[in-house]
Point group: C2
Chain length 321, copies 2
Amino acid sequence: MSAAKVPGERTYERLLGRLAALPKQTSLTLDELRTQYDSAERAFRVDPGCVVEIVDEAPFRGECLRPGQAGEAAMLYLHGGGYVIGSPRSHRHLVADLAAATRLTGYLLDYRLAPEHPYPAARDDAVAAVRWLLDTGRTRADRLVLAGDSAGGGLVVATLVALREAGLPMPAAAICLSPWVDLSCSLPSCASNRPPDPVIDGEVLRAMAHAYLGQRSPRTPGASPLFADLRGLPPLLVQAAADEMLTDEAVELARAAAGAEVAVTLELWPRFVHVGPWYARVLDDGRRAIDHAARFVSAALELASPGRAPRLSRRLSARRR
Amino acid sequence: MSAAKVPGERTYERLLGRLAALPKQTSLTLDELRTQYDSAERAFRVDPGCVVEIVDEAPFRGECLRPGQAGEAAMLYLHGGGYVIGSPRSHRHLVADLAAATRLTGYLLDYRLAPEHPYPAARDDAVAAVRWLLDTGRTRADRLVLAGDSAGGGLVVATLVALREAGLPMPAAAICLSPWVDLSCSLPSCASNRPPDPVIDGEVLRAMAHAYLGQRSPRTPGASPLFADLRGLPPLLVQAAADEMLTDEAVELARAAAGAEVAVTLELWPRFVHVGPWYARVLDDGRRAIDHAARFVSAALELASPGRAPRLSRRLSARRR
């Protein structure tokens, strides 16, 4: 999905150059990794039309982001960072972009991180956040979208499974950006990491899996939902780079979801990176991937709407948006 | 993607009932199979707002379908039927639906069929059709979409590869509905056919592969483009049922395309059948899949437009369709 080259364009090559200039992740302490990730809040500013509200109302801790044209529907966003780093500071810009494109009110959860709070703390916080959104009347399940990237993308799937097991109503749709769904890191693209991923460090990834899981099996379904029973999940959009470490996780998640009768859309983007939408302000295709996510949300919310009448009477020629 | 049940709704269960009532394919002669497939022209009428013109202008033989709101862009459609059956009669309704939803002028090619005309006749006719569309000024490559189902979906990919090898310009996008891209039928979902596919008969499918290929290898890249070099292909939409015989072909085509730096979107639909959009008039999700294809075309044509300026100035909040 390349476009004509123009000066100043937000291209893949320029992004690779920026990434190569970052310090090697293995040279940083945990605190330094967290600080570096959170510096996104200075690098990528939120559009002034988006109202950001800090929320600390047990059990929800995080931020609420309202774009100018927000409707009644909401998105619970679970950030990435290997369950070890990441916060509203690292992901505010991405959630603001997604909220604006989808016209959803974004709830960005500051879930507890490992190693201080290992599995299942993150998943428990996410399930509690959904309960809070529903119980407080902030949204209804059929107007709620779950979204997340990387570890947060895996957490989206694990949370949906936990909601089903708890007998709670399913959200209308879910979005997984480069989801990490197999903490054993055993699928070919992850195990080989060839060519080396410009964003993910394999050694750091494995350390994060250990920090989250401790002595538990890396195939624990609640942490590695590729191995979970996915029946009953809502329509799922999975986006990944065509050649990142987690490409095969995206493909296999799509295959597993379809095998469990879940409607799934998989987008593989060439000349893209792990969680490309996080880089939307410096990568044009990251912006386009957000637009695709918005179209997916629009269709899924229309489909989930209880008041939706069968579209028997509309003429074919009128059916196009 | 199920909706609330209402009387008369076009559900999966009702479609399965209709399919089960059809005569067993292995009990029919070749002529009977062709006649049965072509009876779609009576079962599924074309919207009166779509102008259907018979075209017999060498090298193009087929039909041109103009929906009410057609713009300058065009779609070359390659029908399914295992390279052995199928014609404008079997697919006029589907191309009319796709043309209306996408606002493209549809060119439905009546390519030569096997066993009378084995490989590479079908591919040669498809390449000649693209040349004709471009040489006669009917469309430009960057306003052209290739689409097809089943064998026609594989033929779309094989045609794109042949266009690249001939040094011709690439179309803007391609759509493969339940594509048959491996005539060796060796991927798990195809080889096992468990549970039995309600549309495809495995024995007939293998006979069709033999009719098209004769003594050639079933892995001939020009007939089984899963084994072709896919570099340089335009953005690709692949749709399939989540549990049809060709589900794994869809997944592996997506993986192969992404590995060749092709932008690919894979949609797997539960409670769906082989080439669900062909059944759009009796299956609601077939209609929805056509709507998804239209959204894909819209985004791909915008991206391929040579006059498209980088969208640097639009505000985030204005970017949603």
